[in-house]
Amino acid sequence: MEALIALVIGVLVSCGVYLLLRARTFPVIIGLTLLSYGVNLFIFVMGRLRTGVPPVVSKGDTSLSTTLNYTDPLPQALVLTAIVIGFAMTAFLLVLALRARAELGNDHVDGTAGLGEKPVIPARPLAEDEV
């Protein structure tokens, strides 16, 4: 099972990274979403893969409240907030993409299509007093 989940996480990360490297904003955002699935799963499985032992303890004998009977709650708490924050980040990026499209007239990540590998920022001539 561990190998399977590692494979799943690997595929998610791969797909996410590939889309992250695309030239348009929307695929990049989808890529980030895929990447955060992968990362969330990665953090989650740090608590190991346990079936049927959710971290909801019984009120009675607390001596039974150990990892023998329950899975690790901490990665779950971390991932829970990560999911919500991930949503906020996606929303923010989306709006950034919308704004960029409105301001620049295109949805290229560099703000201008066909930038490629050429340097766009010329070596700034330094003002006399600045140097």
Binding site: A6, S14, C15, R22, A23, L34, F42, T62, F92, A97
Partner: protein
């Protein structure tokens, strides 16, 4: 405590002048003088004991883990310097009031001066070498600000920057040296360091530490070849030059040499490095000073030369020479500060500092001339003036030095030569300015004697020069004794200061210097022509050019890495990450741990396959954005199933609700973006990205496997599981961690969420987007605003959904659920209304400003945390109790519930803020197609 006050009182003086300036310049001056005066009074109260060679300490731990303590020491050396700093500082404050023009802010100058005073006192009183470095850098900074005081002048800015670059860099090497000393001795206390000379000098790192510290001292004290910043620092107002760049700050370097003398001196390396640096500086400074036409330029090079003299003396490894060095520090400070004040007065009265123009001033300002003559005589080393005494001692000492190979004569010869030049430039200062015919087109004519009070500080210093020169044993001797004892300890030599030592070689050297100097001055014509003929590089130009080159090459490196293309940056970033990770992973053989794998069941296998296929399909069809989005939803759903499978019900609930809002959000946004992603990347780019993506995925997969096959420390998990009920009052440990154990983190997270919501809101404000009339394939959007069946169903669903949400919220502490999940469910229920009935309909019924709602949520959560203060508990401490309610039964009420309510409200507020705002955008563009790109699209409405 009082030691600390000596340092802090001038700082008080730094705050007062800007406030008091408006009541007039005199009051401003008085307010500036209060602090130093009090500090001086405090210091004087220690004086009797200090002259008895006592030492006072003050210790306050600051950052003990780093060995940085606020420990101070007041001994003879510190006292001598502190006296110089405070007395000359007070005179300069007095002088500056008359020097500075009405339009310049006196308060700002005073503030900076006193900031410097504080830092300088800190250097001389520090007993911790790290503390000393801190104050050292503070003097560099305040010097920078003071040189740049007239910030509208280019030369002031350039001079300031050069001084900061040189002395600041020196401060860094000093820090490195100090850290090495601390490593060697195991302590940063100067007391320990100065008592560990043998340990330090036997250590293999001693040369490194010595050189680093010497660079620090030499840059500060303007020693050759770091001297060039000092003449350019003369762009500062003259009171600053008098104070920082002749009397005090440039002495910090020689102070440091004196302070560390017990620890570092005595070795061959010390002798050669310090002696020859000092010698070169002495001769070079004296030679150059003669040819400067600028009054302050002459004084600056003369200062360099005198600092070289002091350094040279400290390099001799001889006790008597060290006493002479300390003596000369005091003498030089007195006569040089006085001369700078004279230069300031002349500049003030004539409007220029060019000695080719200023001539014959004797007839206009005889008093200034008299005082200047006294000080200049001291500088030249004329008998009966203080400079003579220390110069005699200096000449004596040069004769004692033994150099290898019978070159003993070099140092006395060079010293005499420097003496000749010193006499020549001192004489030039007097003769050119006060005699030498008539003035040549002065900007201000005729000059007058300045107000008496402006001459007073300079005159006081002049009188001191004479007093010390005539009656050394009644004036300076006890202070010098205490200072020497502080440096040399019991090794203090038997010496006495006297004007007449009999006819001997040093006297002959003095006489040679005096006669030779006068002769040189009267034969100066040829020499000046020689000096002018020689091509000389301007240090400032060279320095500026090098800085330019440095900045340009930095820019080139930046451009090579970052050319503005995000794709390129991201690719480089991932490549770097891959390379670094690969280095750590190597060799791959040790990657897997020993823990056995668990078996795979066919349900999991199937789900995994679906997820993998969905993820890959998302990538493959990503050019068709809507389709990719739908497949992405599949991936998200299976992620929540993974959470279900592996015992994480809370995560599954969160994931599935977030998935819903995310997809709605993406669809909304997609409405405004192109429906199709064009094929931008060429084949090479695609292959490169595939390789990078594959590498990243492989790396993460291997890492996951590596961790999962290794044993696992359950200590933390056990703690949370065991303490959840007793400590947090809830059985759902995940929720208890969120709202109780790690409540502070959650507070931070909901704050971020609210900020993101507000950010979205602000960014969408005033946004105008082209309105698409059709989907990607050219099909027009449907005209029916809202499908009726969906509308009716959604309205029926709303109360049910809200009830589920309340239920999920309430049980959250004990069963899967809680504020986050309940908030998301509520949001979805409300968003459904937006989707089905339109913004206008919803907003009529829910007239909330969601931004305020989000902030209110954060506020409630914070108040829930603050509430525990009222009961004397730390922030966010929770308490709980069990109550029994009829019908419902026994349940538990925890204050964490209030916190969770805050979380709930924040989530609802932020989510709706984002979605409703984006939806409104669609609405407004949809409703009013008269926007930028209406055209035929208008009829779609």
């Amino acid at each position: 405590m009082e030691l600390l006050l000596i340092i802090l009182l001038p700082l008080l003086g730094a705050f007062l002048p800007p406030l008091c300036e408006r009541f007039g310049r005199n009051i401003g001056m008085v307010s500036a003088a209060i602090g130093p005066l009090l500090a001086l009074a405090l210091l004087v109260s220690y004086l009797p004991a200090l002259l008895e060679r006592q030492v006072f300490f003050f210790h306050l731990p600051w950052l003990p883990q780093l060995g940085l303590d606020l420990s101070l020491r007041l001994d003879g050396l510190g006292m001598m310097f502190a006296l110089l700093i405070l007395v000359i500082g007070l005179l300069v404050i007095f002088y500056a009031r008359y020097y500075l023009a009405e339009k310049d802010s006196l308060g700002r100058l005073y503030t900076l001066l006193q900031l410097f005073m504080m830092a300088m006192l800190g250097i001389v009183l520090a007993d911790n070498i790290l503390l000393l470095v801190v104050f050292w850098e503070l003097t560099s900074l305040s010097s920078f600000l003071l040189i740049g005081y007239w910030s509208h002048k280019s030369e002031a800015r350039k001079g300031a920057r050069m001084a900061l670059a040189i002395t600041g860099a020196g401060g860094l090497t000093l820090l490195a040296g100090a850290l090495i000393l601390g490593q060697i001795t195991g302590s940063y206390s100067l007391q320990v360091i100065t008592n560990s000379a043998d340990l330090i000098q036997a250590h293999p790192l001693y040369p490194v530490a010595l050189i680093l510290i010497l660079i620090g001292a030499f840059t500060k004290s303007a020693q050759f070849p770091f001297h060039f910043w000092l003449p350019h620092a003369m762009a500062a107002p003259t009171p600053v030059s008098a104070y920082l760049h002749s009397a005090t700050m440039v002495k910090a370097g020689v102070f440091l040499l004196a302070r560390l003398y017990p620890a570092l001196s005595g070795s061959e390396l010390w002798f050669y490095l310090v002696t020859f640096t000092g010698l070169a500086t002495l001769v070079f400074g004296a030679y150059t000073a003669l040819f400067k036409h600028d009054l302050k330029g002459l004084l600056a090079y003369s200062t360099i030369s005198h600092l070289g003299l002091i350094t040279l003396l400290l390099g001799f490894n001889s006790e008597l020479a060290t006493v002479a060095a300390l003596f000369h520090i005091v003498n030089h400070a007195t006569f040089k500060a006085s001369l700078f004040m004279a230069a300031g007065i002349i500049d003030h009265e004539t409007g220029t500092r060019d000695m080719r123009k200023i001539n014959g001033m004797w007839q206009y300002m005889p008093i200034t001339a008299t005082v200047a003559m006294v000080s200049a005589s001291a500088m030249a080393g004329v008998p009966l003036f203080n400079g003579f005494l220390s110069k005699e001692m200096f000449f004596t000492e040069t004769l004692q030095v033994e150099l290898m190979g019978g070159f003993d004569w070099i140092i006395p010869l060079m010293a005499t030569l420097a003496g000749i030049f010193a006499v020549a430039y001192s004489y030039r200062f007097i003769h050119d300015v006060f005699f030498n015919g008539q003035p040549v087109d002065l900007p201000k004519f005729p000059p007058h004697e300045p107000p008496g009070l402006m001459i007073l500080p300079m005159a006081i210093l002049g009188v001191l020069c004479l007093l010390v020169g005539i009656l050394p044993n009644l004036t300076v001797a006890p202070i010098l004794d205490a200072a020497s004892y502080a440096v040399l300890g019991e090794g203090i030599p038997d010496y006495h200061i006297a004007i007449w030592h009999g006819l001997n070689l040093p006297l002959a050297m003095s006489a040679t210097a005096l006669c030779g100097g006068l002769l040189l001055y009267y034969q100066r014509g040829g020499l000046f022509a020689f000096y002018e003929r020689k091509y000389r590089r301007d240090e400032k130009e060279v320095f500026e050019k090098r800085i330019q080159t440095l900045v340009r090459s930095a820019q080139r490196v930046t451009d090579a890495i970052e050319n503005g293309s995000l794709q390129r940056s991201a690719a480089l970033f991932i490549t770097t990450g891959l390379v670094l990770a690969a280095v750590e992973f190597w060799p791959l053989g040790q990657l897997l741990g020993k823990v056995a794998l668990t078996p795979i069941d066919w349900v999991s296998l199937l789900l995994a396959l679906v997820m993998i296929i969905a993820a890959l399909v998302t990538v493959i069809i990503h050019h068709n954005r809507l389709a990719a989005l739908l497949v992405l939803g599949v991936v998200g759903l299976i992620v929540s199933l993974v959470f279900v499978r592996f015992s994480a019900p809370d995560l599954a609930l969160t994931q599935i609700s977030v998935e819903v809002v995310t997809i709605i959000l993406l669809m909304l946004a997609l409405y405004f973006l192109p429906q199709i992603t064009p094929h931008d990347s060429d084949k090479r780019r695609v292959v490169r990205d595939l390789l990078l993506a594959g590498g990243a995925g492989l790396g993460v997969a291997l890492l996951t496997l590596a961790i999962l096959t290794r044993p696992y420390d359950t200590g933390l998990a056990d703690f949370f599981l065991a303490n959840s009920v007793s400590g947090g009052g809830g059985t759902n440990v995940v929720n208890v961690i969120l709202v109780d154990f790690r409540g502070f983190d959650t507070l931070g997270e909901i704050t971020v969420l609210a900020i993101a919501g507000l950010g979205v809101y602000l960014m969408l404000n005033g946004l105008h987007l082209p309105l698409p009339g059709a989907d990607g394939d050219g099909r027009r959007w449907a005209r029916d605003p809202y499908p009726p069946i969906l509308t009716v169903l959604s309205r029926i669903l709303l109360p049910l959904a809200l009830m589920v949400s309340v239920y999920i919220f309430l049980r959250g502490h004990n069963q899967p659920g809680g504020g986050f999940i309940a908030g998301l469910i509520t949001s979805i229920a409300l968003i459904l209304q937006y989707v089905c009935s339109g913004s206008a309909w919803v907003q009529q019924r829910l007239p909330f400003d969601y931004g305020r709602v989000a902030v209110l949520g954060v506020l409630i959560a914070t108040l829930a945390g603050v509430g525990s203060w009222a009961f004397g508990y730390p922030f966010l401490t929770t308490s709980f109790t069990y109550v029994t309610w009829p019908l419902v039964g026994k349940f538990e009420l925890a204050t964490a519930m209030i916190f969770d309510t805050g979380v709930f409200i924040t989530v609802v507020g932020s989510t709706l803020l984002m979605l409703a705002q984006l939806g409104n955008l669609a609405q407004t563009t949809y409703d009013t197609p008269s926007g930028t790109s209406s055209g035929t699209n208008g009829e779609a409405h």
